[in-house]
């Protein structure tokens, strides 16, 4: 029994954190839904689920990179709104699409630079950035509107060989993230830096000759770029620019990462866990709609399930 619960919750002393239990929970929700309502397994609904979950999957995966370092990025929500606002400025896709990623990289770089060079706590640095970006977004686009390049709209709504395009967005996101995290020295260095931070020896990785600052900056750049990717996706989905579309999304992203077993103290976590975390949240939202749970009680249920999943993830270390 204890061995089993260890297996499920623990993988204590593993680097992936706890992801089996969230996976079981995701499966349990899916099972419950398919028994509860015929509409869940219906093709149309399953096709809806992918684009519904996609922005969260993308943003959470980006967020995971900085959380693995023991950092946090509260500016991703604003980054998403900002991206849609830039899109709605008008202009051809081949200009706007590269432009938003350059801007995102710049924002991520600024976050990382401030955190590493000036010793500013990530929460403060990225919270400030959240305000600043939101301010700029409101200047660019005081209210929602404008048009989004057609190519973006069709890249979200269309399909290829009968497979809806959002699926390819997902595959692309996961491939890129996988390569960065598991297929490069950078990924290993992220774990190393985060491991040092979480064990209280901030410069442990630095003493191994790892370019810690550069890697930290890079992680924030990656996080911002994934947020921008989610912004591009959302711009295509809501077909306009919107200054509020990303509001509070950073909290959803952090929650998804945490549900998936990645530890906020750094060094422990996994890509698949993060995807599972995002899926738990998306399934929950979709499931409550399909089973006609009253909107007055949906928040409580969502919170309670979060609480449950997290409460089962007891860790060795105390803290954030």
């Amino acid at each position: 029994m204890t061995a089993l619960s260890r297996r499920l919750t623990g993988a204590r002393g593993s680097r992936q954190g706890m992801w089996v239990l969230p996976l079981l929970i995701a499966l349990a929700i899916a099972l419950w839904l398919s028994l509860e309502t015929a509409q869940f397994l219906n093709g149309e609904n399953l096709l809806n689920l992918v684009p519904q979950a996609m922005p969260l999957v993308i943003t959470a995966v980006g967020q995971m990179f900085v959380i693995l370092l023991g950092g946090l990025d509260l500016s991703v929500g604003s980054m998403i709104s900002f991206t849609t606002a830039v899109f709605a400025l008008g202009g051809p896709g081949w200009v706007l699409i590269p432009a938003v990623f350059v801007l995102a990289a710049l924002v991520g770089f600024t976050n990382g630079f401030i955190i590493t060079r000036f010793n500013v706590h990530p929460i403060i640095a990225t919270l400030s950035m959240q305000y600043i970006l939101l301010g700029i977004t409101r200047v660019l686009r005081p209210v929602s509107g404008g048009t989004v390049p057609d190519i973006v709209i069709s890249a979200v709504a269309g399909s290829f060989l009968g497979v809806p395009l959002p699926i390819f967005w997902g595959i692309f996101t996961l491939l890129v993230a996988w390569k960065l995290l598991y297929g490069s020295r950078f990924g290993l260095h992220l774990f190393a830096i985060g491991g040092g931070v979480s064990s209280g020896v901030e410069d442990a990785a630095h003493n191994f000759g790892i370019a810690d600052r550069r890697n930290i900056v890079l992680a924030y750049v990656i996080c911002a770029c994934f947020a921008a990717l989610a912004g591009v996706f959302l711009a295509g989905r809501i077909v306009s620019g919107d200054p509020n579309v990303g509001l509070l999304f950073e909290l959803d992203a952090i929650t998804a990462v945490a549900i998936g077993g990645t530890q906020l103290s750094g060094g422990i976590g996994s890509l698949h866990g993060t995807v599972i975390g995002a899926l738990v949240m998306a399934l929950l939202a979709n499931g409550m709609n399909l089973t006609n749970v009253s909107p007055f009680i949906q928040t409580t249920i969502k919170g309670a399930i979060l609480l449950l999943v997290v409460a089962l993830q007891s860790r060795k270390k105390m803290g954030l």
Binding site: G13, L188, F191, G196, S198, N207, F208, G209, G267
Partner: protein, 514 residues
């Protein structure tokens, strides 16, 4: 043995370094020769680690120069030093717990595959080979968080010496190792030397210095005392050079150990499969737990403070039973309330509040006796007394403990328990990384504590220390006590003998580590 022409690989000249106003190095020069092992000696806080951290690129000197094979170099960061062929095993363990052994060993210089990914297979293979050369049978895929301190130390050493460098710095690599392990390390140091590398070896263990070093440089209070060939030195003259006086008696006189029993352990079984044992500790007595690494001595001690659940047994402290298992969260407090102090071996991780003042560190255990809502006394007097009786070298009680040298940190840690109202001490590694002068002081402190009616149970990897300090020695093997002997009759040889050949099964020194 061929003797290649020795050349100077590194020269550090007139190095100065101050931390927040206090000078750690006041113009020290040192030259490292190829094919030579260079000992760096000095009391705690003399500046040895600081000098080497400068060479490793961790700190930057305030002034002075580093010459690498005659050319001046500047190391801004550790990576620069690594790239210049200088590899370091740091004094403080700094492996990353969430990475595997192989990853730790190759961190910062991982081999890559054709696709740009980390070549894990190669890393494991080579790490496995390196570990095997050090006589370790560990899976290179094991996470470091699962290793014991000694195993970590070995991994750290493996990381440091299995590199393609020409200068190797080993800052107290043997602090957590036992004699057999030290011998393995020495073999490798000799190999490096034969390959024409320069090795800097920092240790407080005199025998090691004389066994493998060629040259010794002695520092005192950040100043260079001198550099000599080991061949010209004797242990006594080296100590004299370090402390400015001859140290006659390292160990204090033994006392009278016939007081009443204060701690008795009966039919104790560490695990389900281990054999039961009993142990008693009397007032005025210092008892040792000896044995090879990982034989259960630490597990036993820590099950008294609740970190482990023993399988069975009865423990009585001053005639009051201690109900087992002890709660993991409250065990330390429980024992403190019964007058028992526990001093953990890893002072950096488990012992000290590195960022807080000496005063806070010393007083920490005193507060625990009172209710949360009670006023916290200042204990200025007691803190000052403790600092002076332990001769803690610090700018004052407000100095952060993390800025003290290793030996002084250890004194602060012991001071915490000595000044609390405690009459039984459970001590792990009382002198890890402590210089010979401080060692002697610590031994005296523990003996004084016993003489005043206290009782001490000590666990240490240094057999000589156990023999010299204690009254009785219990040798632990395979999770049970196999022999008990009066320390006066014990020798390193018969302890090792008992530790190795208990039950007639001849376990290799490096047998069941895990």
């Amino acid at each position: 043995m061929k003797t290649p022409v020795a050349k100077i690989l590194v020269e550090m000249s007139e190095i100065r370094k101050a931390f927040a106003g206090t000078a750690a190095l006041k113009g020290v020069s040192i030259a490292l020769q190829s094919g030579s092992v260079h000992a760096l000696m000095g009391e705690n806080g003399a500046g040895k680690s600081t000098l080497m951290k400068i060479l490793a690129g961790v700190h930057q000197p305030d002034s002075g120069a580093i010459l690498r094979e005659g050319r001046q170099v500047v190391f801004h960061k550790p990576k620069d030093a690594l790239e210049a062929g200088i590899s370091t095993v740091f004094q403080e363990l700094s492996l990353l717990p969430n990475l595997t052994i192989a990853e730790n060993m190759f961190l910062g210089r991982e081999p890559v595959t054709a696709f740009g990914g980390v070549d894990h297979r190669r890393m494991r293979r080579e790490a496995g080979k390196a570990l095997a050369e050090l006589g370790l049978r560990l899976d290179p895929g094991t996470l470091v968080s699962r290793l014991s301190i000694a195993e970590r130390q070995f991994v750290e050493i493996a990381h440091g010496i299995m590199t393609d460098a020409s200068v190797f710095i080993l800052d107290e690599p043997t602090a957590a190792l036992n004699a057999a392990d030290v011998e393995i390390l020495n073999r490798h140091i000799r190999r490096l030397k034969d390959e024409g590398k320069a090795v800097v070896y920092i240790s407080h263990r005199m025998d090691e210095i004389f066994a493998i070093c060629d040259t010794v440089t002695v520092l005192k209070d950040g100043e260079l005392v001198g550099t000599r060939a080991i061949a010209e030195m004797t242990p006594a003259s080296l100590i004299a050079m370090m402390v400015g006086r001859e140290l006659t008696d390292l160990f204090p006189q033994r006392g009278d150990a016939s007081g009443p029993v204060v701690l008795s352990v009966e039919d104790f079984r560490i695990t389900e499969r281990s054999r039961p044992f009993s142990l008693s500790l009397s007032r005025g007595e210092i008892v040792a737990l000896a044995g090879l690494e990982g034989q259960g001595q630490q597990r036993f001690l820590r099950s008294l403070v609740g970190q482990y659940h023993p399988f069975a047994g009865r423990v009585t402290i001053k005639n009051k039973p201690l109900s087992l298992p002890v709660s993991p969260g409250g065990g330390v407090r429980r024992l403190q309330a019964m007058g028992v102090g526990f001093v953990p071996e890893d002072r950096k991780e488990d012992g000290l509040f590195l960022g807080l003042s000496v005063a806070h560190n010393i007083a920490a255990a005193l507060h625990s006796k009172r209710s949360e809502l009670a006023f916290a006394a200042g204990y200025q007097r007691l803190i000052a007394d403790t600092m002076s009786s332990l001769a803690v070298k610090a700018s004052g009680p407000a100095a952060a403990v993390g800025t003290l040298s290793g030996g002084n940190q250890q004194k602060v840690l012991l001071g915490r328990y000595l000044c609390a109202d405690i009459d039984i001490l459970l001590v792990e590694e009382p002198t890890r990384g402590v210089d010979i002068g401080a060692k002697s002081e610590i031994y005296r402190l523990l003996r004084d504590f016993a003489l005043k009616g206290g009782a001490v149970l000590v666990l240490s990897r240094e057999t000589v220390e156990l023999i010299g300090l204690c009254d009785r020695i219990c040798v632990v093997h395979n999770d049970t006590i196999v022999t008990e002997m009066p320390a006066a009759d014990a020798t390193e040889h018969n302890i090792l003998d008992a530790a190795l050949s208990a039950n007639g099964e001849a376990n290799g020194a490096r047998g069941e580590r895990r």
